[in-house]
Point group: C2
Chain length 305, copies 2
């Protein structure tokens, strides 16, 4: 094993009904105004928006909103969020959604306390020295963004896709209620499974050192995702399978699987970057969605791992 | 899976030479005086004491000492440490050693900011609300104490053995240089292997829910410990085996393996407590050392997991 530093300050609240804690958690941090980020209006029709804003109101927490964040999130939307965050003097960012919303929230959190363009952080022109606290309520399990300091954003003006990595943008709290992912369509569930497997396979295949524990952890994540995806495709109501799938997604990208392995991640990043200007899987970032699903299904059936 | 909360704020610095960072790390936290806790004088003969105190001096960090901490650490020694910590107004506690030293350091850290007897925390008479920051340099891999908020102490007056569990006593930083464990004798290496396996088996066998990922993680830890113990008994110089053993020990008790499994830990705690007044394995807390080793060796040979 090579030398490494590991630190992951994110608090996870996992399980049924945990979203009810959001008002209390934010209030305990003495925050009085947040930027509420989300994607589609689905969170309004399914009651989550109402539930969350009620909890905020109860604790006297004001909010302003940034909606319409899309998959493969874009810089122009991040800029819009930063403008609101600065103008409204929010003290934190609250993401409700999947990895795209959370990645946007992290970027806004860093950009809101920066004097120049947040894109500087993505291209290495500047280093994140501080950020607003980030809170998340996840409605999709896939990207692992809920327990790491990464965010991937596409600059939609110049068609470049880069990431930031900073201890300052780890969510302070991520709420993972597997039930909130029930409305994810089956195709997105399959894309998510591919995404999770891609996250761990990336480090596994490019590792310059192969510690047995980390390798076994990767194999455990892949096996868990394969099994639970099959169950959920048949029965989306299976809470336990959904919970195991959700936790596997988090473990896949919280840094433990690659600790001490010295992966050549640049290889896989390069691969993603070369795909940045083409249409690719909405979450996995690898290739065409339908073939991802086909690959996933045959991969799952073969049970070679 | 059942609902759970997971948070682990400890920063890990893992690898060769990492103990060199200790002065810088403590100075960055604006700490100017520490209580240095250790067990035997071995750290003086092997150069570690000299190395650490040099790093402290370079950063202008003063220290006072508590030495002679024994395996299965005792309350009277913790009291001694608290008395020094209060009298000398130390701002942090630095443990150099294994789990016994670190457990003592955590208890001192909590007791130093408490108005009454620290034993109150162990018997549930009071709850830890604050503690001095704790730093650790580990010279033994076994107990997992380096990345959790537990400490087990025996009250040597009344022969009771209880534990504390608090977010306030998680080490702020734990330095794990596997090379520092090289001087651990072979019998202690075997006891440590049993200890690590006991930690994960405890949750595994008493879990009321068995998420597949967590089960696989447990199996991965056990397999890693079995393999690397065999290697290290043959060749104590094998750095990679020592590193994998060390990291497996940490993973065994940092909370991930039991997250969402609802283990009936009270059963196993009860088992430990009933053994509190008899001579038992110096680290595993289960039973007679020699039989632990025999069990470990035959267990390892059988490779049934």
């Amino acid at each position: 094993m090579v030398n490494f530093t590991y630190q992951n300050p994110t608090k996870i609240e996992f399980g049924k009904g945990k979203e009810e804690l959001i008002g209390t958690a934010i209030a305990e941090d003495n925050i009085t105004k947040v930027l509420l980020c989300y994607g589609s209006e689905r969170i309004k029709s399914d009651g989550l928006y109402e539930k969350v804003t009620t909890r905020l109101k109860e604790k006297g927490i004001a909010w302003v909103e940034l909606s319409g964040i899309i998959s493969n999130p874009i810089l122009s939307k991040v800029h819009e969020g930063i403008t609101i965050a600065k103008a409204e003097k929010v003290e934190a960012v609250l993401a409700i959604g999947g990895g795209s919303v959370l990645d946007s929230a992290k970027s806004i959190a860093a950009g809101a306390l920066y004097h120049s363009d947040v894109w500087d952080f993505f291209i290495g022109k500047s280093v994140i020295e501080k950020a607003l606290p980030v809170y998340a309520i996840m409605t999709l399990a896939a990207t692992g963004s809920e327990m790491n300091g990464f965010a991937v954003i596409t600059n939609d003006t110049i068609q470049q896709k880069y990431n930031i990595a900073s201890l300052h943008v780890y969510p302070r709290l991520s709420i993972l209620n597997p039930e909130l992912t029930k409305s994810v369509p089956k195709n997105y569930l399959a894309y998510s499974a591919v995404d999770i497997i891609a996250h761990v396979i990336e480090g596994y295949l490019t590792a310059n050192v192969q510690p047995h524990f980390q390798s076994r952890m990767v194999e455990g994540i892949i096996q868990t995702v394969m099994e639970t995806t099959e169950i959920l495709l048949q029965n989306p109501e299976d809470y336990n399978a959904r919970a195991e799938f959700t936790w596997a997604a988090t473990q896949a990208l919280n840094g433990v699987t690659t600790a001490g392995t010295n992966p050549s991640v640049s290889k896989s990043h390069d691969r993603t970057l070369t795909l940045s200007t083409v249409q690719h899987c909405s979450r996995c970032g690898f290739s065409d969605c339908d073939s991802c699903v086909d690959d996933m299904v045959s991969y799952s059936k073969s049970r070679t791992i």
